[in-house]
């Protein structure tokens, strides 16, 4: 409930006169400052910064969402046994198998790629990720090799990964983050999704605010000249729009000329100031002229492979969003690499392309954030909705595997070089230090200074949480 008390004691007549008197053209600094100071007391901006529960280790999150489910046994979870038993019936050598999505179980399938221990940490990385494997990158990363999910179907698993629930209509983790902490930039949304081209199965609802207020919902930005809808003025010139908005402001202020103007209306007037500034802030974000050629090259904006360019641009924009104080940034995958990471067939081709798409940009993002001194306060999370089976689907693919897979984190509060958990000798089921998606959420919030059991929202007769009634901090990877 809005607290009206402040307002009742203000001399409202004079206040409106004050607003009018200091108006010096739309976007005028004085007006803006005054509105910011005084209106906020009456109407809380849902995105204004809020104090964390305890000292945060990270202030921002970049979530690298690996849509479709990367194969852990081909990337980070090295399983020599797969070579030994390659071609055997998995039911004979692994034992009883859970139902798979496509119910087309083939033979045990060894990885096509070589694995090596990398960096000082000695963590395993296959040849699919030559850049992430570099010492200065790999040792920043902490692996969780025992992640599990509850669902082997994409949409359930996607909603689960994003919202902690398999159903539509629940708030995404970016929305929860905004709800818990607000944003540090009121000219940009608190939760931005940089859409590489593929909206995951389950659609835009993966980024929704669910029962939380709409202001926490993810804004999907296309890495293009017009990144979000309705950001470009429709007037012929900026001046024409300013004249209109000037007229609008004057007419709106007239309507405040009453003994007790409604606080909603004042807030709505203020929103026009913000919206007007967003029209500049968003194009400014997309304008890379200030970035050096070295940086652009680092991210792969000149790469031969088009998708590396796209994901490189997404990573660079993510860094720029962090610099602007945007709280939670999610990156989705570019299209055209086969079916996302979802290689039910053509595993070699699809995973080669997917890795080529993200390897250089992700390595660049980590190095660049460190160079700028931002890595310590930025949490990077790399995860798919599940992993893939150690046995083939048909001949040359792998099916979904939620029973044990790898995710990793780097940056703010993360113990670089750590590695927790294990799958069994096949990479099929997590058997040691098993974690679940709720634990990933709890840990993310923990690093942001939010106690996951205390960040609640009353809905449907319950105090809802991102972690529902679950969630443990993954202590082994927290620095």
């Amino acid at each position: 409930m809005t607290n009206h008390c402040n307002r009742f004691q203000n001399g409202l007549h004079s206040r409106r006169d004050l607003l009018k008197g200091c108006a010096m053209g739309f976007g005028g600094v004085a007006l803006q400052a005054l509105m910011a100071q005084q209106s906020r007391a009456a109407v809380t901006n849902p995105l204004s910064p809020k104090p964390p529960h305890f000292a945060p280790r990270a202030k921002n999150v970049i979530f690298l969402y690996m849509d479709g489910g990367p194969s852990h046994v081909d990337t980070f979870d090295y399983k020599p046994l797969l070579e030994k038993y390659h071609g055997r019936d998995p039911r004979e050598v692994i034992g009883e198998l859970a139902p798979t999505q496509f119910d087309n179980v083939g033979k045990v399938l060894k990885s096509h790629w070589d694995f090596k221990q990398r960096g000082e940490s000695g963590n395993w990385v296959s040849d699919l990720f030559p850049n992430i494997a570099k010492k200065e990158v790999i040792d920043e990363i902490a692996f969780v090799k025992s992640m599990t999910s509850k669902f082997s179907e994409h949409t359930f698993a996607n909603y689960f990964l994003h919202t902690g629930s398999p159903f539509q209509g629940r708030p995404s983790m970016g929305a929860w983050t905004g709800y818990g902490l607000g944003s540090e930039n009121e000219n940009l949304p608190g939760f931005v999704v940089l859409n590489g081209g593929l909206i995951p199965p389950g659609g835009l609802d993966c980024f929704g605010s669910g029962f939380l207020p709409a202001s926490y919902q993810g804004s999907v930005f296309l890495p293009s000249e017009q990144p979000i809808a309705n950001i470009h003025p429709q007037e012929k010139t900026v001046e024409a729009q300013k004249r209109k908005l000037g007229l609008l402001r004057d007419l709106d202020l007239e309507s405040l000329d009453t003994p007790m103007p409604d606080p909603q209306i004042e807030a709505a007037i203020q929103n026009y100031e913000t919206a007007f500034r967003m029209q500049t802030a968003v194009p400014d974000l997309m304008d890379l002229r200030g970035e050096s050629e070295t940086v652009k090259k680092l991210y792969g904006l000149d790469a031969d492979f088009k998708n590396t360019q796209t994901f490189g641009l997404q990573c660079l924009l993510a860094r720029r969003l962090v610099q602007r104080g945007v709280r939670f940034i999610e990156l989705t995958c570019p299209g055209g690499n086969g079916d996302r990471w979802d290689q039910h067939g053509k595993l070699v081709d699809g995973h080669t392309k997917n890795c080529k798409t993200v390897d250089q940009p992700i390595a660049a993002l980590i190095s660049d954030l460190r160079r700028l001194g931002m890595l310590d306060s930025t949490l990077i999370v790399w995860a798919g909705e599940f992993g893939r089976t150690p046995f083939a689907q048909g001949n040359d693919g792998r099916d979904h595997n939620p029973f044990g897979f790898t995710v990793w984190m780097a940056g703010g509060g993360v113990k670089g070089g750590a590695c927790v958990g294990e799958t069994d000798d096949w990479g099929y089921r997590a058997v040691r230090d098993r974690y679940e998606i709720h634990d990933l959420h709890a840990t993310m919030l923990h690093l942001l200074g939010v106690e996951h059991t205390k960040s609640t929202f009353r809905f449907s007769g319950r105090d809802m949480r991102l972690t529902d009634v679950h969630g443990h901090i993954m202590k082994e990877i927290v620095a």
Partner: protein
Amino acid sequence: MRYFLFIPVLLATLLPAESSADAQLEFFEKKIRPVLAEKCYSCHAADAKKLKGGLQLDHREHMLAGGDTGPALEPGDVEKSLLIESIRYGNDDLQMPPKEKLSAEIVADFETWIAGGAVWPEEPVPERDGENSGESFDLQKRFQEHWSWRPVANPDLPAVKKTDWPKVGPDYFVLAKMEAAGLRPAPEAEKGVWLRRVHFDLVGLPPTPEQREAFLADESPNAKEKVVDGLLASPHFGEKWARHWMDLVRYADTYGHEFDYPINGSHEYRDYLIRALNEDVPYDLFVKEHVAGDLLPEPRRHPTEKFNESILGTGFWYFHEATHAPTDVLGNEADIMDNQIDVFGKSFLGLTVSCARCHDHKFDAISTADYYAMTAYLHGSARQDFPMDVGRVREKTRNQLAEIKEKADALISPDKTNVEKAPQAKEGETIFETFSGEQIPEGWSTTGYAFAAAGSHQGVRFDEKNPWARPGTVDSGLFGKKQVGILRSPTFTIGTDHIHILAKGNAVDVRVVIDNYQMAKFSALLFKGTILKNLDTKGGFRWNTLAGNLKKYQGHKAYLEFVDNGDGEIVIDEIRFSTVAAPAISEEEKMLPSGPLPENVAAFVKKGEQLSGKLPAPRFAVAMAQGTPENAHVYVRGSHRSLGEEVPPRFLEALGGETGDRLDLANEVTRPDNPLTSRVLANRIWHHLFGAGIVPTVDDFGPMGRPATHPELLDWLATDLVSNGWSIKRSIRQLVLSSTYGQASEPHPELPFERLAEVDPSNELLSRMPVKRLTGEAVRDSILAVSGKLDSRLYGASVPVHRTAFMTGRGGKKSGPLDGAGRRSIYGAVYRNFLSPFMMTFDVPGPFGPKGRRNVSNVPAQALVLMNDPFVVEQTRSWAGALVAREESNEKRIDGLFLKALGRTPTVAERGRVESYLAQESESDPVDTWANLAHVVINMKEFIFIP
């Protein structure tokens, strides 16, 4: 298996040969107890903070008693002990300890221990001190303690001081509370303000300048009554109020999830709502139609089109989201039912029934058994695409055809009668149905007029090419090819991997519906062979087989469904459940009876075929049908793999717990002495008119909801509603003509702000009307209305959403026009994965669960939409075009803009400011300038904030 081989070895090495009791105890203390203590007791012991799965492992007795999934231990039988199954990690639903698999050695120790009889030393059995989660569940106590279960009172009107203020009953209650708090009502709102308010509240559109002028000029004492009666009689009333129910029943045109498959015929439910509200169908009947409209003995019919309206209400059950290819179909069904019960419970009863899915309700008088008793109704029902019988043409035609057939059949000599040979089941086969009776067999059900039994005597079918019916069949073409219908089998448990169906047909769908899973028609993944789409037997009878993935679903509940949508026909002779291939079929068996028809018979067949050939194309709606009545099992802790007690279909115990069918349930929900249904509705109406409910949590009347601000008023309204025939329109009429509703939104000038701020800062006592922001629909509809582009046609298929570059993803539909074809927003398609960004920005809820109270956000994105959305800009241009085309003075044009958009003329200051803007823009093209001005007026806060 490989562990077993080790057991004798281990026994031999670790235990003395005679395996003395001492040695066994030592083994237990050394190898078993420490592991239990370290790995299990934090969740499975008397002193666990929270006992998981109802299982204690701190004594043999507890292990034998077991937890939710049954005994943990079977002494002596390693393979039957759940404890072993869980620590082996082979079952993905039962893996303990949850975080980490025990080493192979430890697992082997446990096997040894159990194989040796699971000895445990004599010691006291540790018991938990009561339930440490707090007090135990006491339904009666909770029932007695919470206000909303109490009978609805019929309170007297309270005494007030300012006796000239109240106009209607509710005013007394509002005023009495105000006076008690030392407040006073606001002055009456200006006529223009009231008119705009009541227009938006009743029809969701602004008054036209003409309507405004007429009202301002009307000095008669009943001027307001005339306006209200006009609005209540307007067809637009239903368009505004139907949307409130669409929010509750999570109305959508697609299923969401990966491919966003369509919910065909969804809009028929939306149109049903609009008509029902416009006709002021009594709310108790309205609710009955939702719960059991398919079972009403005398369904309500459309006044002119004569089709069954009542059954359309049942569509609400099926607006849930749905995925294809769930790996766990029973779990999928359980999740859908959870959503259905959530919608049912909150929408009609204001109860969070689905909170009792995993455990007894934490706060309310609702048990887990209550929840699963509700699922029993759903287990015993079937989703159907219901063919609407417009004009009752199908019914009439079928009656005529039956008469003709009777006459024709009477002319066929009895010696034509075939005696069907009793079918012989082979080994591995069970005969499920032979259709040899005179009627559709007992337990089978039909929808529509297609399916009929051919009976045992030789008769005709209305098809000149195949005029002889086959005795002992059910035939959807008996009364002509264009007949439409559905035939459903009784529910059975799948016990074989083949279902063989001896039938002849074309262009019909045959499927086995497993655990009510409906999506196989869109994608057969994981359900291959369970559906035969567009079956075509190439002109003769043959055995058609459902198989493939069917074998995976043995043990699941299912029913067979034959769907004839009017394009084809099917003659079904026999159905076998089988573990072997289909039987052979003789040449003779392949064909319908043949031979020439007697001439007098042929004339009847010709007549019948012609008559049925005239049947129109069908229209389909989503609806419920009665299936085989079933009891349900409690799913212990919400897990469908863990079956608890069996419960019959029955209503909530706290509301009587009456058992029966869905129609009985509907009658229970709408009993006048049910304290919730009437209160919940009265409160919803209040919420929509006054911006907040008397109970602010409109969907939750339970202990976690907020209490009523005016409890006596709520009961007075509920009583008034029921005693006046559950009329929604009457209730609305009374409230919008009240003094409370008639107040200005500014407080009384003599009421000190400090006083108001102190006693009622959030205006719960209604000493003024709240300022309400328009809904997303009303914002868009108003823009269309003022621009002159509103197409006010009613009903019909949803208008596809206009897709922008930002609306990508799987299952994309064709983009619709930018202006939504000028139709009101209620007709815009609700594609779950492609929701209208305009609507979402203005808080139109996503269709996921009941939402009786929308968020009202106030964010910059709303400013961006109104400033820059091409739709808004396009509308202002077309408005300006019309304005400039008229030869009018600027003054008149400015008046016109303000009157249309804001329902008033500009003030002197405003006019001055607008004129100076016009002077500034004098060089520009007039259409541009006036479009800009129209755009500014639409962006004025007053356009969307209604005082």
